[in-house]
Structure formats: C-alpha cells, structure tokens
Amino acid sequence: DTAVSQTPKYLVTQMGNDKSIKCEQNLGHDTMYWYKQDSKKFLKIMFSYNNKELIINETVPNRFSPKSPDKAHLNLHINSLELGDSAVYFCASSQRGQNTEAFFGQGTRLTVV
C-alpha cells in the first residue's frame, strides 16, 4: 500500500485555469505538508496542517488554498494559474514532533502553458 499518495501525477493546464491536487496518507500521521520543488530542484515548504488545522503558511499567494477534510487528507487548490506556478508539488506527512521523519508522495508535476 502506498503510504502517501498524490493525484494526479502529471497536470498540464492553461494559464488562468483552476486546478486541484489531492493527497492522502494511510500512516495515521497527525501532520501533513505541501512542498514546492522548482526547476532548480530547490524544495520549499508551502503549508503545514496538524489535525486539520493550518499551522504553517509560508507566504504563499492566496491563489493557493489548502483544504484538509480530515487528518488523512490534504488537498491543494490553485486558482488562476500562472506560468510561474509550474513546478513539482510534493505532499508529505509525519507524526507531530521534531524528531520524526516526513514521508513524501511521488509528486505532481504541474505545467502551466
């Protein structure tokens, strides 16, 4: 069974569209994240949720709206997509606490044309 799964794996869309990426974890973790990996492979945290509550929002444009219907799911909705949003988006989960490793999904490669 996949521990952290994201859908879709690839997403190609036009500028101005709205799209969503879904994430689910079956590890029983309390905390979930969204990370963005740019074309230079640099990884930056976007959001962190703990038990459905937003705890980190790293100055991400408000076109990005995470939603956590329960602690096993953290979806990412993006409005009015821009060319600069093209990247790979990773979902991850962990137990709460600084000594616990995060488990990552396989990523969603978003291409805005």
Binding site: V4, T31, Y33, K40, K41, F42, L43, K44, I45, S48, N50, I55, I56, F90, A92, S94, R96, G97, Q98, N99, E101, A102, F103, F104, G105, Q106, G107
Partner: protein, 113 residues
Amino acid sequence: AQSVAQPEDQVNVAEGNPLTVKCTYSVSGNPYLFWYVQYPNRGLQFLLKYITGDNLVKGSYGFEAEFNKSQTSFHLKKPSALVSDSALYFCASFSGGYNKLIFGAGTRLAVHP
C-alpha cells in the same frame, strides 16, 4: 534564521570508492537533522536522521552520517559507492518549534562505473 547548506552542487565518485556528501547547518537549540534521497521522477525517500546520542548515525542502503557539533556539519557517507546510488541528495533540519522541515539546495551524486 535556521538554515541548512550543501556546498557542492555535484559530487562525482567512481564505483567502489567511498563517497561523502557535505552538509552544514545553522539552527538554534538542538539540531534535528535528516538526509533524504530523490531518484529521477520520484518523491523523496528518508535515509537517516540525527536526533541525539551517537554522532555516527546509520541509515538505509548502507549510508551513514557523521554529526559534528563543533563544525556544525552532518556529512553523508558510504564506504563503497554503487552506480545505483546516483541521485539527488538533500540534507534537512527542523526549524524552530514547528513541524517545518527546511532543506538544503541538494547535491547531485554521480557514481561512475
């Protein structure tokens, strides 16, 4: 601000030789340090972590890392490199009191036959 640095963009090593991928950190309080590996078109996989205790940490696939407090370093090592170890390696640390994993810029390891 908390940060993690990987000074080398790329490391080249011949198969069978020892490898080292460097990481230095700047964190306040106790450092919680991690290494992850990313294979092409895949998510990040956890290799090992340092929380406290022994300075030499052993992890997956024969990798180990040495924590050095005086040099604020956490270098990843392997005694004998394999071609299949070729991948992108990330050092990471938890930042502050939050579940916020910050990453270095990544080091591409190329192991040549």
